[in-house]
């Protein structure tokens, strides 16, 4: 059998995913079946060795640490306080509340970073406020979902950590590289909201005078409650950026800081700690075992010459290398319609990243493109997770269709942002370049 046929057969067997088989086991089964079929029983040893190799690295420790940090922050009232502290600054600006929601979302992404949690919280506090003030429904919904999804980009983003782990790219560099693209994307959202509200003031009325009338002292006092959690987040990222601590160490110190902050804020309890740990355990378990499954599959595919095959196929195309990258981005968008980011990452990155390198591109740049791409998958129908999260907490008269309808302008902005980074790689590569 030639590798082309094998590839097709393998894709065929992946139909197992469609019948609802857990991805971790479907991928693993196909991997084991092919290894057994082509190389016999003894070759299965390769799979277990590869799995062992993956577990036995220090960077992996960063995953539970960041998840734990995020989970504890998420369970404390930090996110809600963040929103309250930001929304009082909205003031007389048209679309001000939407802008402040977005600012709060950016900060939340850097502290809690759990996308589901952010969107649910904003859906509970920001959406009713905007609707009450007479904001345009689409604008309000879009702001929340798009803002909440920024968590896939803003460090410490678990997407970037996993990209770094599976492709052996420095996670610190990825965290640096994503800063400018992340700000660009947030900036595009800001510009969009402000422009629309400027052109049509009815879309986002300013706060009524009596609500704006909060003394400056009060406003700053609200900010005060955020000093601690923000300090922890900045400390963790700062020490990674400054090269003081390894990613895993910084994350561990972040866990300690988060627990301390929750304690000082009077929110720490055994119950909360236990729930955070359980959440971390389940999340780690599913991420890790999914990785094992994908490792088994990609491992045997590579042995059979599959990665080479696709690489030759794609580099042999009579196009400019950049077109190949664009093609990859399109494939990722399509996969993202149906699959979770982690599935897409584990299945495609081991194949795409070597091609990217052989084309002479920087894998850091590609990682940033990847996480921008996965933002789209959060918003895109039929399975945009962001829409599901919001639907769960939105007023009943807002249907899933309403939400998806509100999201497309933001998806366009995401594509614009991604294209900017695609055509101007320096936007991503400038900062990591400086630090070297």
């Amino acid at each position: 059998m030639d590798i082309g046929t094998i590839t097709l057969v393998m894709l065929g067997t992946l139909l197992l995913l469609v019948i609802g088989m857990p991805m971790a086991f479907a991928l693993g089964f196909v991997g084991v079946a092919f290894t057994f079929g082509f190389y016999g029983w003894d070759a299965l040893m390769i799979i277990s060795s590869r799995i062992y190799g993956f577990v036995n690295v220090y960077v992996l420790v960063a995953v539970p640490m960041f998840l734990m940090m995020a989970s504890i922050m998420d369970k404390s009232g930090v996110a809600r306080d963040l929103y309250t502290a930001m929304s009082v600054w909205a003031g007389g600006l048209r679309g001000g509340v939407a802008i402040m929601t977005l600012v709060a979302a950016v900060f939340m992404a850097a502290t809690t970073g759990i996308i589901g949690g952010e969107i649910i919280l904003l859906g509970l506090v920001a959406l009713p406020q905007m609707l009450r003030l007479g904001y345009n429904k689409n604008l309000a919904i879009g702001t929340i979902c798009a803002g909440g999804s920024l968590g896939t980009m803003i460090p410490p983003s678990i997407v970037l950590i996993f990209y770094g782990l599976t492709t052996n790219v420095s996670i610190g560099d990825l965290f640096l590289a994503v800063i400018i693209p992340g700000l660009i994307l947030a900036g595009l959202y800001f510009a969009y909201i402000l422009t629309r509200c400027y052109l049509n003031p009815e879309l986002g009325p300013p706060l009524p005078l009596e609500e704006r009338d909060i003394p400056l002292r009060e406003k700053f006092k609200l900010l005060g409650s955020l000093v601690l959690p923000m300090g922890v987040a900045l400390g963790v990222l700062g020490s990674i950026y400054a090269g003081i601590a390894a990613v895993s160490e910084a994350a561990a110190v972040g866990v300690a800081g988060t627990i301390l902050a929750a304690w000082i804020r009077g929110e720490l309890s055994w119950q909360m700690l236990r729930e955070s740990l359980q959440q971390t355990m389940a999340a780690c378990g599913l991420l890790l075992w999914l990785t094992f499954g994908a490792t088994a599959l990609i491992g045997v595919y590579n042995l059979l010459g599959g990665i080479r095959f696709i690489s030759d196929l794609m580099t042999g195309l009579p196009f400019d290398p950049l077109v190949v990258v664009v093609l990859m981005m399109l494939m990722l968008i399509v996969l993202g319609l149906f699959m979770d980011w982690v599935g897409v990452l584990l299945l495609t990155m081991p194949i795409f990243v070597p091609i990217i390198k052989s084309l002479g591109y920087d894998p850091i740049w590609f990682g940033i493109l990847f996480c921008m791409n996965m933002q789209i998958s959060y918003l895109s129908p039929p399975f945009g997770l962001a829409a599901f999260y919001l639907k769960g907490v939105a007023p009943p008269e807002i249907s899933l269709q309403d939400i998806y309808k509100a999201l497309w302008p933001f998806m366009l902005l995401q594509i614009v942002g991604m294209s900017l980074v695609l055509f101007f790689p320096q936007l991503a590569l400038w900062l990591p370049g400086l630090s070297q």
Binding site: L16, L17, V18, I19, G20, M21, P22, M23, A24, F25, A26, G28, F29, V32, F36, L44, M45, I47, S48, S49, I51, Y52, V55, N56, V57, Y58, L60, V61, P64, M65, M68, A245, S248, E249, A252, V253, V255, A256, L273, R274, L277, Q278, T280, M281, A282, C284, G285, L286, L288, W289, L290, F292, G293, F338, M339, D340, V342, G343, P382, F383
Partner: protein, 163 residues
Amino acid sequence: MSEPPVIDRVSRILGDKLAWLFLVAAALSCYEVMMDWLFRAPTIWVHDSSIMLCSTAFLFGGAYALQRREHIRITVLYDYFSPWWQWVCDLVSLVLTLIYLLALAAFTGMQALDSIMRVESSGRAWDFPMPMVIRTALFLGAAMLVLQAASQLYYLIRNRTTH
């Protein structure tokens, strides 16, 4: 079913307890950072023990997540199937899952056994039999998943035949 299956309980309790290892690992890493920073005396054992603690914990996370039914699935079509077809899909998934996990448990088990026999050591600065521990945890994590999947398969078939 009046009470949750035994295996579910075991997976859950193991997961709940082992999750505390993450916290221990975090504490150890903090200790390391402190020693390195304040006393310029980095330890040689913290990195390796953090790896050991964390990987032991999340190797069991597989069964834990399966028990909580949190593993990622694509349910686009599945949701539209009739209950009978859903049952068939579940059956096929669980049987194939079991085959994969059994193969995995067999091989990680053999490697673990081999590692235990020679007390395989890491050969790093802190020469602890870390590979032995992790390989054993890998096997136990896989074995726990086998039991969890087998238990779900058993209940799937039993519930079908009793209704």
